[in-house]
Amino acid sequence: MQESPVRKIIPIVPEEEVSLYEAQKKLYPRSVTGLFARWRWFFVFLTQLVFYGLPWLEWGQRQAVLFDLGARRFYLFGVVLYPQDFIYLTGLLVISALSLFLFTAVAGRLWCGFTCPQTVYTEIFLWIERKVEGDRSARMRLDAEPASARKLLKKGTKHFLWIALSLWTGFTFVGYFTPIQTLWAEAFTLSFGPWEWFWVNFYALATYGNAGFLREQVCKYMCPYARFQSAMFDRDTLIVSYDAARGEPRGARSRKADLSTLALGACVDCTLCVQVCPTGIDIREGLQYECIGCAACVDVCDTVMDKMNYPRGLIRFSTQNAMAGQWSKAQLWRRVRRPRVLVYSAILVALCVGLLWSLLERTPLKVDVVRDRAALSRIVAGGKLENVYRLQIMNATEQPQRYRITASGLEGLALASESEVDIGPAESRWVPVRLQIGYGSAAPGSHAIEFNVGDVAGESHVSEKSIFLVPR
């Protein structure tokens, strides 16, 4: 008998009829400890310390970080920003985007796996879930149980804690936009305003729903970053990789068995990597779009390798090139310094320095000039020609200021209205200003002039262009 060279593969799972819509499969991620889990908890604490703590900080007589949308003043420690300072937000967003490019080019979806609020809150919610209901297998058993007082108590406790944390999160969020001390006092008498009620509950509901129920669905179906980050990968990007060359063929074996005598790879097929995965994928099938790079599978596989006395790193952060070429660590890290990464870094550093510099060098004074439109020009007593302007003078300091107004650009141009104005702290005011020149001292038409406004102490100074009209 001769064996046929081409073997026909008979699929184990036959073709099946499936719906166009997929029911969510509930995941029970197993808890995991290890290097990357510790890093994730570090970032959970760091981000949440900042988020929950920042609104409580005081700066002088006010909240250190407060976005007062009603008054259109944005307080950031010592800085008072006006809506006119929107460019800083643009700068911040550009820096955020570039950082995302850089981190993704170097090490894939680091943001997703460690600091994204979706991951962070899911991690916290999972921790609560584990404390109340137990780990993966206990949770699966509990869900399979028929309803009972014990089940109700456990589920009730979990949801109570989830909702409490969500409400606290919603409360903190609103505390960035309305003074949190006042809000805290209002919380005891339940006397929030209508919008405060809405946003506390809306943000709480979003936290509860996203971290408690939607979880990986957010990353898989809703998040745009998830999809476009893969466009920033290249073959030298560090991704969570399964070393198939070392691991296959996978299979169960006795712990005492000697690997060299078995016809098996290092993978013991314990499926722990699948059980810990927050998005429910099997990393051994290679890079998949669902992978958020959290490295839970790396941690858990290392513990198994330790137990088996095999070297660690069957699943590890590595690059496609390194995997294909069996590179050493040094070779792999050398490729991190590739032009793409260097260019991203250079632009990022330049932007950060630029933004910081402009924030430090910022003049805490803004001036807008609006010419009166009804009367273009008028002749007044004393043979003078007069133009009228409105100057919006915005004091971006937290002290009352006295500003001096001067104008230049035309022979004999003089201010006929008061030249000094007082503006209160973080206030803005419209000031009518009259400019005069001698009748006939300038040709008919439009002349470019400049307003100069500065505080009396001479610390800040702003020039604004306008025109002076001389009638024909």
Partner: protein, 308 residues
């Protein structure tokens, strides 16, 4: 014209909206029932252009329920709010109604503030910095368009700071002016005055009243003809605030200075109007504005009143 009076378009829009919504629902129902064959390699078996295969990546089911929710929301919205053609909606909501509600709400919120202001007479209020800050904003938003940001007006728009009043500058008069507006009417007087030369002579007489440069011979001749003007402006030319007739002796020329401007005014007359603000501003706002305007030409009195 029938486009605007008939109800064809209303019905058309309503039917189109409802048909679209139910078409969406139908599409959802069909796709929810449809089954496709997925192979082991997670493709649907559909192949185009030789090797382009369609993957089986189903939508999550909860997403479909979101679609259903939006449809339920849409139907609820269309019952409550105007959206189906000319149907007004059960809530009777209109943009105009919302605007009026907001104005009413703002007025209610500001009522205690304005109550403090209306309790004081305008002369005292002019020395109150808080009231004047409000007055300044009211002036900038409602008056500065014509009278200028500095209230000094321009040609045909009176200067409010010079103490020269066409209709009187007492606070009560100012309230009247702001509330009801004013209509200044100078009729064409050429026929009453006489020949074009007479008009020119009257012009020189008028110039002489304020001591402006003039031809004294023409002025002498014009004096007799001024009787035609005296009915309103008075024999002495000092005007009449009851009629809104300007004082011709104070060297303030609202519509232009010089022989030519005066001749043209006598020949053609002029109608000049200030619109009433009764519908736009509340009584309390007008009270604050009158104090602000009064204060501009009564600086010394204001300072005296401001002293405790």
């Amino acid at each position: 014209m029938s486009d605007f009076t008939g109800n064809f378009w209303s019905v058309y829009v309503a039917v189109l909206t409802l048909v679209s919504i139910f078409a969406c629902l139908l599409l959802l129902w069909i796709t929810a029932r449809k089954k496709i064959t997925a192979s082991v390699d997670n493709t649907t078996g559909h192949v185009w252009d030789e090797d382009l295969r369609e993957m089986n990546n189903p939508m999550p089911r909860w997403w479909m329920w979101l679609f259903v929710l939006t449809i339920i929301f849409a139907l609820g919205y269309l019952v409550a709010y105007p959206g189906l053609g000319s149907y007004k909606g059960e809530l009777g909501w209109t943009t105009h109604g919302e605007y009026t509600d907001e104005v009413e709400k703002a007025n209610k919120e500001l009522a205690p503030l304005y109550a403090q202001f209306t309790a004081k007479p305008a002369e005292v209020l002019a020395g109150d910095p808080a009231a004047m800050a409000v007055g300044e904003r009211l002036f900038m938003n409602n008056c500065a368009q014509c009278h200028g940001s500095d209230a000094r007006g321009s040609k045909s728009f009176p200067n409010l700071t010079d103490g020269d009043w066409l209709h009187g500058g007492a606070p009560a008069k100012l309230v009247e002016t702001i509330t009801l507006g004013r209509q200044g009417n100078m009729p064409p007087m050429a026929a009453a005055v006489g020949t074009p030369d007479d008009v020119k002579n009257v012009a020189h007489y008028v110039l002489s009243l304020s001591g402006s440069p003039h031809d004294s011979l023409r002025s002498q001749l014009g004096k007799a003809k001024f009787t035609a003007c005296a009915a309103c402006h008075g024999m002495d030319g000092k005007g009449n605030q009851a009629l809104g007739a300007p004082n011709l002796t104070d060297d303030i020329w609202l519509h232009g200075w010089g022989e030519q401007a005066i001749v043209s005014m006598v020949n053609n007359g002029k109608v000049n109007a200030m619109p009433g603000q009764a519908g736009k501003l509340t009584e309390a706002q007008i009270h604050v504005l009158s104090a602000y305007v009064w204060g501009m030409s009564n600086k010394t009195a204001t300072l005296a009143n401001a002293r405790p």
